[in-house]
């Protein structure tokens, strides 16, 4: 003991001081994370952006291997799966026939009514690079980012249903918060009864449908689509089906296959045109005196007459103006 004290007597206090400074720095980092959260989250996505895409060359093979092992495990159930698929395919053929007829009829009716539907949604497809790596967060990292024009808040789907929304965009990557994350809240409509609800993730596989007006009108199997409330999401994206759990709570089984997220579509949302002015008076055209509001029309007439009087009227100009 005595020897140690003699040897390191001048090192120990320095080390202790350094450790204290380190602990203080980390505490300050936590405080900054709490106070100026957006800045730290940007730092986080910048760090992720630097590291994860560089690891792609090694992550891709390992991920592929893991998925192959999963697939291999499902070979054991190949026979029953095959029988099941055949049965489903048979049913699907009849459904497909019905759907085609309905689609044609729908197109005819829409054409008769001259209905203007939502503009066609376009999308950017991204590859899932990484997941959140923690049991407390449900998110995945896509390999598309600012470079590809991705914006915060855009909806993300797999081939079939809604998966989540973009939250955090870096140069080359963007993070998708899944429906099942406990921070996810999405306005939805339950279809046959057209009730509005909020889809609230709770880290389980089936998020909760909350704020329902009349939960007794909801039956298991009802379709749930996005409602477009709040202007964040386009309306009418398929989300999933209603299920009711043992406690009688209304939950949602997502249509997207969350266990196999590989390619995701980021839907480009066009912000809807907002109607801001209350609308003007509509009436017959008056021979009004030129006011500041009608300056354009008056100015047009003046130039026309100005040009007409000094020179004989030019037939081409007349025709063009008329």
């Amino acid at each position: 003991m005595a020897r140690e004290r003699a040897d390191t007597s001048h090192i120990r206090p320095v080390r202790r001081l350094l450790m204290t400074v380190l602990v203080l720095c980390l505490a300050v980092l936590v405080l900054i994370w709490r106070i100026d959260n957006p800045r730290v989250e940007r730092l986080r996505s910048a760090i992720t952006d630097r590291i994860v895409p560089n690891l792609e060359w090694v992550m891709a093979p390992v991920t592929a291997l893991g998925r192959m092992i999963d697939d291999f495990e499902s070979y054991t159930r190949l026979y029953e799966q095959n029988a099941e698929l055949r049965r489903e395919l048979q049913q699907m053929r009849t459904w497909r026939e019905a759907a085609l007829q309905l689609e044609q009829e729908n197109a005819r009716l829409l054409d008769l009514n001259r209905v203007q539907l939502d503009p066609e949604l376009t999308f950017v497809t991204g590859l899932v690079l990484a997941d959140s790596g923690s049991p407390f967060r449900r998110s995945v990292l896509l390999n598309v980012g600012q470079r590809d024009g991705i914006l915060d808040g855009w909806a993300t789907m797999d081939g079939l249903g809604l998966v989540g929304r973009i939250s955090g965009v870096a140069e080359n990557t963007s993070r998708v918060i899944l429906l099942t994350d406990s921070n996810s809240r999405i306005p939805v409509t339950v279809l046959p009864s057209a009730q509005r609800a909020i889809l609230m993730g709770d880290n389980s596989a089936a998020p909760v449908l909350g704020f329902l007006e009349a939960a007794e009108d909801i039956a298991p199997g009802d379709r749930v689509v996005t409602s477009g409330d709040g202007g964040v999401f386009p309306a009418g994206l398929l989300v999933g089906q209603v299920v009711i759990d043992r406690d009688g709570q209304v939950r949602l089984r997502p249509s997207a296959d969350f266990s196999r997220l590989n390619f995701l579509r980021v839907m480009r949302s066009h912000p809807g045109t907002a109607i801001s002015d209350p609308g003007g008076m509509i009436g017959p055209p008056w021979p009004l005196a030129p006011e500041p509001g009608t300056e354009d029309a008056a100015a047009g007439e003046v130039t026309e007459t100005d040009r007409a009087e000094p020179a004989p009227p030019d037939p081409h100009v007349e025709a063009g103006d008329g």
């Binding site: 980390l26 936590v30 994370w33 730092l43 997941d131 790596g133 049991p135 997220l261």
Partner: protein, 176 residues
């Protein structure tokens, strides 16, 4: 008892520590389990850090600990710096008690490590509560802590018999 390891061996341990840590983070962010929320696995990096702090403190320099834990905090979507702060404080606490722990039996060591891990979890929740942030569910966090405690003997076993890492004796401690 154990001879003092050569500097080369120490550097090998440091390399193993960093490599293992990076490997663990890397495997956790692989997009293999995007679906059903599985049970939280053990915090292997924490178990290794605590075990090696008690055995070969030179093998886990504080810079490496801070680097690994901060990287984990940032990449795994955790509160930035909080878990790092708690890990550094746990390492400091164990470091100051190493004199008494070198001669103690493994059961005592295990108990103390379990206490440290539980204290870290409680402290994390307290700090998050004071900072008014939303917290992960207590059950999952406790399960993660218990898994870490359960895996601790395995980590010790592997480092003792596969990596040949013995506890430093009191003589070595005094010399070092």
């Amino acid at each position: 008892m154990a001879r003092k390891p050569t500097p080369r061996r120490i550097w090998a341990y440091r390399g193993i520590y960093l490599g293992l840590g990076l490997g663990v983070i890397f495997f956790r962010i692989l997009p293999l389990q995007t679906g059903s929320p599985g049970l939280p696995g053990p915090d292997i990096i924490l178990a290794i850090t605590l075990a090696w702090t008690l055995r070969q403190p030179a093998a886990v320099p504080i810079a490496a600990i801070v680097f690994l834990f901060l990287l984990g905090d940032f990449l795994l979507q955790q509160p930035a710096g909080l878990w790092t702060l708690l890990a550094v404080m746990a390492v400091m606490a164990l470091d100051s008690r190493r004199m008494t722990l070198t001669e103690a039996s493994f059961l005592v060591e295990m108990t103390i490590v379990a206490g440290v891990i539980l204290a870290m979890i409680v402290a994390e929740r307290m700090i998050l509560w004071v900072l008014l942030t939303d917290q992960p569910s207590l059950g999952l966090v406790l399960m993660e802590g218990l898994a870490t405690i359960v895996i601790y003997p395995i980590v010790v076993f592997v480092s003792k018999f596969l990596l040949g890492m013995d506890k430093l004796s009191l003589v070595d401690l005094e010399a070092g």
